[in-house]
Symmetry: C3
Subunit: 138 residues, 3 copies
């Protein structure tokens, strides 16, 4: 595995701290010329809905009220994770897929999702692209 092996990120959690951490890893890998393959499941998929992607989605329970307030302040404007992901797509080969099973569970179609999401795909297609590198679950 060299520096160009694909980084596959399974985004499961829907809180803004984890989504920010994921976006930072994606942009870091993309800047190094590494392909990034993102798969959105469950609460992360829900957070990518077009009408609420920049709404506040909360933080991990251990943040507490002070940590939560700190996180919330850090998400303003250009620092929002959705903007970081847009940058990552501009600089590199970053594809974002919605998990087909999760779209069925929530009853959502691609029209409901932010344009950051390229398509809806099944786990077999995701695993095919994940054959040659790390699979990181966030």
């Amino acid at each position: 595995m060299d520096g160009e092996s694909t980084l596959s990120l399974v985004l499961f959690s829907g809180t803004d701290d984890k989504l920010t951490a994921a976006a930072v890893l994606a942009v870091g890998a993309a800047a190094m010329g590494r392909p990034v393959n993102v798969f959105l499941q469950y609460w992360a998929l829900d957070a990518f809905r077009r009408d609420r992607i920049t709404r506040y989605h909360g933080s991990a329970p251990e943040a507490g009220p002070a940590g939560d307030a700190l996180l919330r302040g850090s998400l303003e404007g250009p620092k929002h994770w959705s903007e970081t992901l847009r940058q990552a797509k501009d600089v590199g080969d970053v594809r974002i897929h919605a998990c087909a099973l999760s779209t069925e569970l929530f009853g959502i179609s691609q029209a409901d999702l932010d344009p950051l999401v390229d398509d809806i795909e099944g786990v077999a297609a995701f695993m095919g692209d994940a054959a040659d590198g790390p699979i990181t679950f966030i």
Copy 2:
């Protein structure tokens, strides 16, 4: 790393949404002929107890009451993650190990665990099988 490198999954969380996500990744990898090496720690190990594996184990905090109800409904019958894992074991090379340290912490033996669990092993044995592929913590 080619398509046949082992996918190692460390299951830590005991909620049914993460266990379902894990089972979907395991069956997707197994269907592609990829060995799957599962290590059960903490709350995930607790969820594999023989007498409560199909009991409802809750969801991530960000699910909220509506998301929780949706998840709960999705787990009925053949769609339960334990059935998906059984399928994964039928179609491919999927081994499920209980972490020795976690079994000691909970005071449980293999007889307490669902037959899906092949054995109890230490972290050195797990790491030995994880030498040639991704290690995904869920």
Copy 3:
């Protein structure tokens, strides 16, 4: 990827159960001669502050009061995850980096962190060291 590819661990969560799981994976990999590259973000970084690293940081929500009490009892003395990480650094090539963005968010400098932390670095440096192995997010 052979047994000596670097294991990169992104520590995000600040609860003691996940930090213990991470330390066990780190020491297991280090004992096999595998380099370990740790990146501390968000609530995990906060848990590495010099003045509170051994304080109790809680457990996953699904632990419940009984699980939480069990975990708390397991952290006494030499079994604390910070001691396990110290062992891992003694036996192998384990480097622990604080994420620059997270140190800015919390307003902390290296002097505020436990000596286990080697330095503060950006995501590009972390990704450079993570080029040849798994990236595990905990």
